[in-house]
Amino acid sequence: MPGVGTIGQSGGVIDRVTLRPPRNLVSPRAVPYWRLRAAAGWLPVLVAGIVALVLVPERPAWAVALAALVVLVAVLHIVVMPQWRYRVHRWEVTPEAVYTQAGWVSQERRIAPTSRIQTVDTERGPLEQLFGLSKVTVTTASAAGPLWIHGLDHTVARQLADELTATTQATPGDAT
């Protein structure tokens, strides 16, 4: 095939250009929020384990090993994930674009021009209200393209949504 192998061979200045992370961190209260949510997610597993422990008398070696593994994964998830997420989750809004970064093991960065934004929502679940947090969802005309900012301080989220809504309304066209 012609046109082979342009990547990593030119070695010019442009190859050292990187996408820097967005500037703003989310609220530090997102860490205990994520931790509580992760713990809540493991609760059914814990209950199932205890029930099995009580009801089943024999304990084969493989079952003990499996239980130990599950406990290890759960503890790691609850301890490590929130901190990791907090380091990754970032956002930035300029007059031209919204830029978000999210994830922990798998990470993603999303960029959408403000001219293509269709709706801006803020949303607070019961657990989020407990921590004074909000989730901001920015949708574009693409079904695959919403940008989420989780774990924002509620006031920051409201300001951000107002700001983005104002910018969006000032932009003509139907954003497709």
Binding site: G5, I14, T18, P22, V105, T140, A141, G145
Partner: protein, 509 residues
């Protein structure tokens, strides 16, 4: 025209742009009740024909049938629509009135469908697509149904507002192209050779087998009692197993092929793709149910050429439009049924009015992307083999599953090689081009000004290998078009060049 239910007063009183209300075609007074009766056929038949409680039951059945018919007819009496200067409006529903208004400048496509019953009576269903991505069925404006001539006229009214000169009476029954349309492609019966390789007949065969099995289960015919069947069964039992297997396999291939060819003919008979001078593309097809889809060219965001493995093996492909207002799912975006690859590319180029995107050489993704193809394909099989071996060693599973799984390793390696060979991307003057996949190889050409956002995804393994998967989001088609496993710098450069300016504030050297 006044409705016997007197329901139009309130809605008709508020006439902002003065256009008259129109009704659906009168023939719907027959079609709707027939369709409703057909849908309710089984319970009605049970009520009317199965003698159990005598007269009362039959009266109930008759009343029910009458209600079904009346409800079907009510649709005609309660439905009105009009096309004003700024919007299309539809008012419908007997008990729950619904009023739908679509601004004319949001109309992206018009889909004219006619089932055999509709065709028999010379009417067609008109669906107006607006391209709202969140659209459920309720957001689509459906006129079920108007006369075939009116359907053609509506298409003109809704899409060619700039060029209103279109003669509407020109194409009465079969929606034939008007002189203002230039042909791009039409069905060539030699394309039927691709039909068996689409395996579309497999679905039909599965449905038939399921139906027969279900029927046999319900009725439980005593096959053993039939001498001929028992004789045949005895004969089969006497044959060597390998022979029976070969016969069954050959039979299955023949049946699936015939069903596929039949399905191709039913779906794509009389297929043609034309371009209207008013700025629309027009696809029509169908043997029994005819379908004519018109979409505005300025809603077109690109095209996709799709090659399923078997079809690719015989150098075939199909072409699909990436357009806002077409969901793509229900086949509405199809521009060309399975046809020779060269034809699929020609049609794509003609639709885009740009031969470059599908002819341009693609950049490879480099050795790291190749390694990732192999580690992923071989990794999955290796884990499977290990699990099956473990189950054999410690849980008493027979030996053959893990040995068979071991044989999948070379298959996985071939798949990985093909997946890497197909991986590629390029940027032309107006388009982002990407190709990937092996079981289905998809090549997309997406308009750069149709890209409304970027996603850069990295798994843990991708970060270690320095790779990024770039996804361009758009308002049409499948919403997201992905270029997998680019070197990080190349990924950023590609996105930066494809949509100049957007990334600049976030770049650092």
């Amino acid at each position: 025209m006044t409705s016997p239910y007197g329901t139009e007063s309130a809605a008709a009183a508020a006439v902002p742009d003065g256009a008259p209300w129109r009704r659906l075609d009168r023939r719907m007074l027959a079609i709707r009740p027939l369709q409703a009766l057909f849908r309710a056929a089984v319970p009605l038949a049970v009520l009317l024909l199965v003698q159990r409680d005598g007269a009362i039951q039959q009266v109930v059945g008759l009343v029910a049938a009458l209600l079904v018919v009346l409800a079907g007819m009510a649709h005609w009496f309660t439905t009105r629509y009009r096309i004003g200067a700024t919007q299309v409006e539809l008012v419908t529903g007997l008990l729950r009135r619904r009023r739908l208004a679509v601004p004319l400048d949001r109309v992206r496509s018009v889909d004219v469908t006619a089932s055999p019953l509709h065709r028999l009576l010379g009417v067609a269903v008109v669906k107006v697509g607006t391209g709202s991505q969140a659209a459920g069925e309720h957001d689509e404006l459906t006129l079920d149904a108007v006369s075939a001539a009116e359907a053609t006229q509506l298409r003109g009214e809704l899409l060619h507002r700039g060029a209103r000169a279109e003669p509407a009476t020109d194409a009465p029954r079969d929606l034939a192209p008007t002189p203002a349309e230039t042909p791009i492609a039409r069905l060539d019966l030699r394309w039927l050779r691709f039909a068996p390789f689409t395996l579309s007949g497999l679905v039909t065969a599965g449905a038939i087998v399921g139906f027969v099995a279900n029927f046999a289960n319900e009725v439980r015919p005593d096959l053993g009692g039939l001498g001929a069947v028992r004789g045949a069964a005895d004969q089969v039992a006497g044959l060597p197993l390998a022979g029976v297997a070969v016969v069954v396999a050959v039979g299955l291939v023949v049946v699936v092929s015939l069903l596929s060819v039949g399905g191709y003919l039913v779906g794509f008979w009389n297929f043609s793709l034309t371009r209207h001078a008013g700025g629309t593309l027009h696809v029509q097809r169908g043997l029994l149910t005819t379908r004519a889809v018109s979409l505005e060219e300025r809603r077109l965001r690109g095209v996709e050429v799709s090659e399923p493995l078997l079809v690719r093996a015989v150098h075939g492909a199909r072409t699909v439009a990436i357009a806002t207002g077409l969901s793509g799912g229900a086949g509405g975006a199809l521009l060309l049924p399975p046809a020779p690859l060269a034809e699929a590319r020609r049609v794509a180029a003609a639709v885009l009015r740009d031969p470059e995107p599908l002819a341009t050489p693609l950049h490879r993704h480099g050795p790291a992307a190749r390694r990732r193809r192999y580690t992923r394909a071989l990794g999955v099989v290796t884990v499977g083999v290990a699990a099956l071996y473990g189950a054999h060693r410690w849980a008493g599973l027979p030996r053959w599953p893990w040995i068979v799984a071991l044989l999948l390793l070379p298959v996985a390696a071939l798949l990985a090689a093909d997946r890497y060979r197909n991986l590629g991307h390029a940027l032309t003057g107006g388009y982002l081009v990407g190709r990937s996949g092996s079981v289905t190889r998809d090549t997309f050409a997406l308009r750069r000004d149709g890209i409304i956002g970027w996603r850069f995804d990295q798994s843990l393994f991708q970060r270690r290998a320095g790779l990024t998967t770039v996804t361009a989001t758009t308002a049409g088609g499948s919403s997201a078009y992905t270029v997998p496993d680019l070197a990080e710098a190349a990924a950023i450069r590609l996105a930066d060049e494809a949509v100049p300016g957007l990334l600049i504030p976030f770049l650092q050297r």
